[in-house]
Amino acid sequence: MRILYLFFVLFCSCDSYLDAKSDLTLSTLDSKEAAEALLDGIDRMNKGSVVLQNASDEYYIRDEVYNAISNPFNLESYIWFEGTQTDEDWNSLYRAIYTANLVIDNLERAGLKEGESDFLKYRANASFYRAHAYSHLLQIYTDVYDDHNAANMSGIVIREDSDFSKKSFVSSLKDSYVYVIDDLQSNQKYLDQIAALKTRPSIQSSLALLARIYLYKGDYQKAYDLTTELVSGDGSELLDYNELDTLENIPFEIFNREVIFYSSTVVANNVYQSTASVSRQFYESYDDRDLRKTLYFQMLPNGEIGFKGSYNGSLSNLFNGIAWDEVYLIRAESAARTGNEHEALDILNLLKKRRWKNECYEPYEIANIDDVLDAVLNERKLQLFFRGNRFSDVKRYNKEGRGIVLRRVVNGQEIILEPNDPGYIWSIPKRVKDLAGL
């Protein structure tokens, strides 16, 4: 019967004949489902910085492995090479931002009416991914926030919509933070309280991300207040490491109870178990009674220490999303920094109870602790191992004069990153600058 239809078209030429979709597996952004599928693209949307992990002093690469690395990104980020032209993080994070913007710009085409609850929810979801990507960009490409000077410091490029004919420009650090924080706050209430999938945003993840941003911004009171809204206070959100099998090759499951928002590194060639050896100094800083020593690490046959404790359920890419342990540690740190040392210590004990072997657990006593803040920061280092936080933490600790020096030894040559070295701030790749005219 198609032939009759063809005759009809041949003689009448109707336009709708040419409106047929040419490939059913392709789609334009014209439905809620398409918007959702874009945001569910976890390989693009749930990705965080890899350069921050590559640059961390938590691991080192043996010379033979280092010499076999061919990707300049992996080499240069490892040795904090100033002139690095690598743009992997830039590209992938801005791609997530573009995708989120595309969804926001096309909500009406997708059949949603402005102001309706679905419209607001999809917009809020997309905004969260966008803010999450910006929060990583802020850690990579900007200096530690300085209240007095932020308006004159350079921040990041803010792309407000998906129109790629608009020119990019770098906003001030202050404006960048204001944009990201506003974006998160204004959309927060439209998110689900708890997400159906840990890859999707929720009010919880939005508050947690905001708390993380305030912590890095140095606004400890705000960070503390946000965690008040979040945590139960009794540590029930945390995993009890006593229930896990230390002999497992991969002890932690993906999307385990502690995970609030799932995100992982884009590529992690440097930090695969076979490549990255954990610094012995780090390893030794875990007490033998601490379960993390056996859940996070394993001895490799070549005598090196390998990391196995990622919340990613695999040894390939590393988890760098937001989990309850981090939220508790943000709370502990901001409590300690705002003069609430008792509470800070209580939180450490909540954590310790679930991290140390049950039979060996004894709470920290304030009387035995020289400096509660030091203890909190140490705990942060131990717990959030290989989560992509360490490099940024060192950067901000050094601003307050902690004088942490990062060292690499490559083929017998020592490479040092002095405190407050400009090398802590990755420069915008030249190629991006050229193309964007920055």
């Binding site: 059913l24 789609s27 334009t28 398409a34 569910d40 693209g41 010499n67 090759n249 040894l315 964007a436």
Partner: protein, 1076 residues
């Protein structure tokens, strides 16, 4: 004049006969009766003219001793009347010199005599088409059409058939690799199926449309030329004729030893050195995957751990060094392939009805054991004169194909782990003739101990794979073509044509537990429960099934107006519209745990993250499946006209408008109509050119525009929706496949063509000279954009290309009754370059461009060919054997700085990777019933890259190079070698710099002895008791070898991008043609 003569003769014939002595005049060979043959007496008086049945009658009283029989297109023959008995036949030989006169070109929309054609058409008649043998249609056109380049660089050296993707007509007119093929038209409609489904025995002739005037009638898809295939039809007024064609082709077994390789001893020595340097420490200590290492490394490890004595080690290693996997591989995996081709056709007809029926069977083996292709086709063609004014054509083709792909593949494809080429000392059999275990994926020491006998055998042997593979692809295609032609009056006709295609392909890949893939997967997902093995993936075969079903309809309505005016003008007009609709649906599905006997299968949990067997990590059981659906729709309007005055002056023009659902409405609006204009002047017909030696001289000029259809572009962002099963959250994922760009418009190809046709000295010399220029505008390319936008590149109309060329053909003929000689020389020159890009990226790092081998388009701002070969500046080797390059003007071995500081604009351009001059010289010599024809072809003015030695890929992937033996080894070597010294650890930048250096660039120019065909024809007129009308026995020897090449290296630049593992295989075909 001709018409008048014939009419007078007819009248004479009608009035002047008295039925006394009768003869029949037939065509020699085919035995077709010839009408219109004039018989003259000794004084030149016309005595009789043959009728439709070929019969001639003479009065009994005729006293002439010698009669002269003549017919245009045939050699005039004198016959002694006394030698003829009543009822005898007189055979006339076809006169090859006069063939041009009957050439009718088929453009797919009209049939047009070459005399009126202004455009560049190249016609390949049946005889030339059948000069070569083979299963496919297109390879028969190789070296027959000037300007048509066969680019086989993507093919392996044993491959014979070609697809449209291997053909470039007059250079490339787009910057998108995927749309550079010419359009294939079969029987008036674009061919939507697989080109290899067409049986060449069903093809009558081929017309290649090379310029805009010829091709623009095909509009938006004609920018790269059009190849029009016309299939055989029934014939009027002929008795039924049966043609049988049967042949056997042998395709030689590849010779893996012909080309130099890195030898086995070198490979083992290299492994030892790497081992001592600790290269394998990581792999050997990997306890999460237990990755495979070669047997040599396993032995060295045992030795290191004091589990193997030094003597045993040395003994085993030296015995390994005597192995050569090529021997086993050549013996068990390659063969001399036998291809059988059988075809029979019946055709005939009368005034009311002409018919053709044909059936063909092709059974082809590949040189790879286990790979076969079979094709069966049945075809019918019927033409009916229903009413004096109404004709109908019915055509149908049914094709069935079956492709078996059981071979693990070419020698170089085999690996022992992902990206690690099989070690060269592998053996397939142990000393006791049992199957050997080759290393695969896991360490053999791991496989030997794991599971302690509870798991399925985890060993690998490619021979076992070959024997148990069952991978079949079956296809069937139906093509029905109906045409109705109505003549309204003398001038006006209407054509209605409809074509239906139905193509179905089913693939089935059954991997039983004998296959490593299946055993490995089952083992990985096995677990131990109270000492008993459990299976998350049940034991059984894994079967992948896939289906693709395409249905297409095309309908065309066309009006033809032909008028001959009294003043000597001739007007031909046609106009029509056409609509096409092709829908394709496909699915892929996997069954697991299949019991092959009962076909029962198991359901499998694809969602749970299982802990794999024995510390092998966690994972899901891989799923495999997809659903696809596409709809392609086109609507086109077209028109074409020509006016010829007094057979001297012709002007022509055409226009076409296309719209499609591929691009969205806004894009259709931007579609400019495609058009062409042309003129022709037949100089030989002018009175001032009345030279007796000048048979024909005409001048043609055309100009026009056609288009390229790029369906990857879109005005709005296009998302590709990926299966939920590919996501860890089991939800569909969308990927932005194309960021929309609403400023896009379509690619257009402007072409100007000037041609001269000539025939001289009683048609003894003839030929064509054509020159053309081709400008392609609005070419769509990827354009880098600010990555901050979220896009690294977008597609935009940003390029322009300019090309020009010359196509020459020359034929000389000497023909006598016994001996004939025909020599044809074809020469093409074609040069094209990117003349403009909207953006400048000469400041982008040049490494990737310099690493390219010219097989894909490389953009540049330097007016170079897009298939260019580039290299870094380099200064040879230094005293340590390191390649020296330049960075910021200084000689250096700082490869990072060389690579970072060498931009595209700094690279040296060697030239095109496509030949700029090519052609062929073909000679056919006939002696009595024997004909021999040979062809020599050449390609000139291009470059290729040898696969250079990279220590990184040698160490990591085991990819050896014959250059290894020529490497720098001691001081002083740098004066006579340009192969860098081996270094440990490998420096990937040093390797990349060397690979991108001119040391690997070679000239590709070559001259080949293409083929020889020999045939011997016998017919009834010569041998009375022959049981059939005629028989032709032939032999065809193909790819006889390279006569000359510019490079001294053992490489063939035209296969596998110049790096084939073995030289092109030779073929010999022997066959017979019978006419009953």
């Amino acid at each position: 004049m001709k018409v008048i003569t014939v009419s007078i003769l007819c009248i004479l014939h009608l009035v002047g006969y008295a039925q006394q002595r009768k003869f029949t005049v037939i065509e020699d060979g085919s035995r077709i009766p010839l009408a219109g043959v004039v018989a003259k007496g000794e004084r030149g008086e016309i005595l009789a003219v043959s009728g439709r049945d070929g019969e001639l009658s003479f009065p009994k009283s005729l006293k002439n001793n010698t009669l002269q029989f003549s017919l245009i297109g045939y050699v005039t023959r004198n016959v002694d009347l006394d030698e003829l008995n009543v009822g005898d036949t007189v055979a006339l030989y076809r006169d090859v010199q006069a063939l041009e006169e009957v050439v009718v070109i088929n453009t797919g929309y009209q049939e047009l005599s070459k005399e009126r054609a202004t455009g560049s058409f190249e016609f390949i008649d049946n005889e030339l088409f059948n000069r070569r043998t083979g299963t496919d249609v297109l390879s028969r056109l190789e070296n027959t059409v000037p300007g048509m380049l066969f680019d086989r660089r993507g093919q392996s050296a044993d491959q014979l058939s070609v697809s449209e993707n291997n053909i470039i007509v007059r250079g490339v007119g787009t910057l998108s690799d995927d749309i550079k093929s010419p359009l294939i038209v079969l029987d008036n409609f674009p061919y939507g199926g697989n080109i290899e489904d067409i049986n060449p025995n069903d093809i009558e002739s081929v017309t290649v449309l090379r310029d805009a005037a010829a091709a623009s009638i095909w509009g938006a898809r004609a920018g790269n030329g059009v190849i029009v295939l016309t299939s055989k039809k029934g014939r009027k007024a002929r008795p039924m004729r049966v043609d049988v064609n049967s042949n056997l082709r042998l395709n030689g077994k590849p010779d893996l030893f012909e080309y130099e390789r890195m030898n086995v001893k070198e490979y083992i020595d290299m492994e030892r050195e790497l081992f001592e340097n600790g290269f394998y420490n990581n792999t050997l200590s990997n306890r999460t995957r237990f990755p495979a290492v070669t047997p040599v490394i396993e032995l060295l490890d045992l030795n290191k751990r004091d589990l193997l004595s030094q003597e045993d080690l040395e003994e085993k290693l030296s015995s390994f060094a005597t192995n050569d996997f090529r021997k086993d591989y050549e013996r068990y995996f390659y063969r001399t392939a036998k291809n059988y081709q059988n075809h029979v056709s019946l055709r005939g007809g009368n005034d009311k009805h002409q018919y053709l029926f044909s059936a063909g069977a092709d059974n082809n083996e590949s040189v790879l054991v286990g790979n076969n292709t079979d094709r069966y086709s049945i075809r019918t063609n019927n033409n009916y004169q229903l009413l004096p004014s109404l004709k109908m054509e019915l055509m149908s083709v049914y094709t069935q194909t079956k492709t078996t792909s059981n071979s693990p593949g070419d020698y170089t494809v085999l690996n022992y782990d992902v990206g690690k080429q099989m070690y060269p000392y592998a053996v397939l059999h142990n000393d006791d003739e049992t199957m050997a275990s080759l290393v695969k994926t896991y360490r053999s020491s791991y496989i030997d101990t794991v599971g302690s006998g509870q798991l399925l055998d985890w060993t690998y042997n490619p021979l076992r794979e070959l024997n148990s593979a069952d991978n079949i692809n079956e296809g069937n295609a139906i093509n029905i073509n109906v045409g109705i032609n109505y003549t309204l009056n003398r001038d006006l006709q209407f054509d209605l044509r409809y074509q239906y295609e139905n193509i179905r392909n089913t693939a089935s890949n059954i991997r039983s537990e004998d296959m490593f893939y299946t055993r490995d997967l089952i083992n990985q997902f096995s677990f131990l429960n109270d000492g008993i093995v459990g299976y998350n993936l049940p034991i059984g075969s894994i079967i992948d099934k896939s289906n693709i079903h395409t249905k297409s309809h095309a309908l065309r309505l066309q009006a033809n107006y032909n008028k001959i005016f009294a003043h000597g003008g001739e007007l031909h007009l046609l106009a029509g519209n056409e609509i096409r609709d092709a829908q394709s649906n496909g699915n892929v599905f996997r069954y697991m745990g299949v019991d092959k006997n009962t076909l029962g299968y198991s359901s499998v949990d694809n969602l749970t993250m299982f802990t794999k067997w024995d510390r092998l990590g966690r994972g899901r059981i891989p799923t495999f499946g997809s659903l696809t659906g596409t709809t392609d729709r086109f609507v086109s309007f077209y028109g074409n006209g020509s006016y010829t005055f007094k057979s001297k002056y012709t002007i022509s023009g055409s226009t076409r408008n296309d719209a499609s659902n591929l691009f969205g409405a806004s894009a259709n609006n931007k579609w400019k109509p495609l058009w062409s204009l042309g003129g022709k002047w037949n100089l030989a017909a002018e009175s001032f050119m009345g030279f007796s030696w000048l048979n024909d001289l005409s001048l043609r000029i055309t100009h026009g525009v056609s288009g390229n259809t790029n369906n990857t572009i879109s005005a709005v962002p296009i998302l590709s929706i990926q299966n939920a099963s590919s996501s860890i959250i089991n939800r569909p994922q969308a990927v932005i496949q194309t960021p929309g760009n609403e400023h896009l418009s379509w690619e257009s190809v402007y072409m100007t063509n000037i041609g001269i046709d000539y025939r001289l000295f009683n048609n003894r010399f003839s030929g064509t000279i054509e020159g053309y220029s081709k400008i392609s505008k609005n070419l769509i390319t990827g354009m880098e954009v600010d990555p901050t936008t979220g896009m690294v590149a977008i597609l935009a109309n940003s390029g322009e290309m300019r090309g020009m060329g010359l196509d020459l053909s020359f034929t000389g003929r000497i023909s006598q009754r016994i001996v004939s000689w025909e020599s044809t020389f074809l020469l093409s020159y074609n040069d094209f370059k990117i003349s403009h890009l909207n953006y400048d990226f000469s400041n982008t790092r040049g490494l990737n461009t310099a690493l390219g081998n010219g097989s894909r388009i490389t953009l540049n701002n330097n007016q170079n060919n897009p298939y260019g070969i580039y290299s870094f500046d380099w200064r040879g080797l230094d005293k340590e054997g390191n390649p020296v390059g330049l960075s910021e003007g200084m000689e250096t071995t700082d490869y990072r700085s060389i690579i970072n500081n060498t931009m595209i604009g700094d690279l040296a351009y060697h030239g095109s990777a496509l030949p700029r001059y090519f052609g062929a010289w073909r000679n056919t010599i006939g002696w009595k019933n024997l004909a021999i024809s040979f062809s020599i072809s050449f390609k000139m003015g291009y470059y290729f890259k040898k696969a250079g030695l990279s220590y990184t890929s040698l160490y990591q992937n085991g990819i050896g190079s014959p250059d290894y033996g020529r490497r720098w080894q001691k001081e002083g070597d740098e004066t006579h070698t340009d192969i860098p010294a081996a270094v440990y650890p490998a420096d990937s930048r040093r390797d990349q710099f060397f690979l991108a250096s001119p040391a690997n660039v070679l000239r590709a120019d070559n001259i080949r002895f293409d083929d020889i065909t020999l045939n011997y024809t016998l017919d009834k007129s010569a041998l009375k008791n022959l049981p059939f009308e005629n028989i032709k026995i032939f032999a065809h020897l193909n790819r006889l070898g390279v006569l000359w090449k510019a490079t001294s290296r053992d490489l063939d630049p035209d296969f596998n991008v110049g790096n084939a593992f073995y030289p092109p295989t030779r073929q010999i075909t022997i066959g017979v043609n019978l006419n009953l």
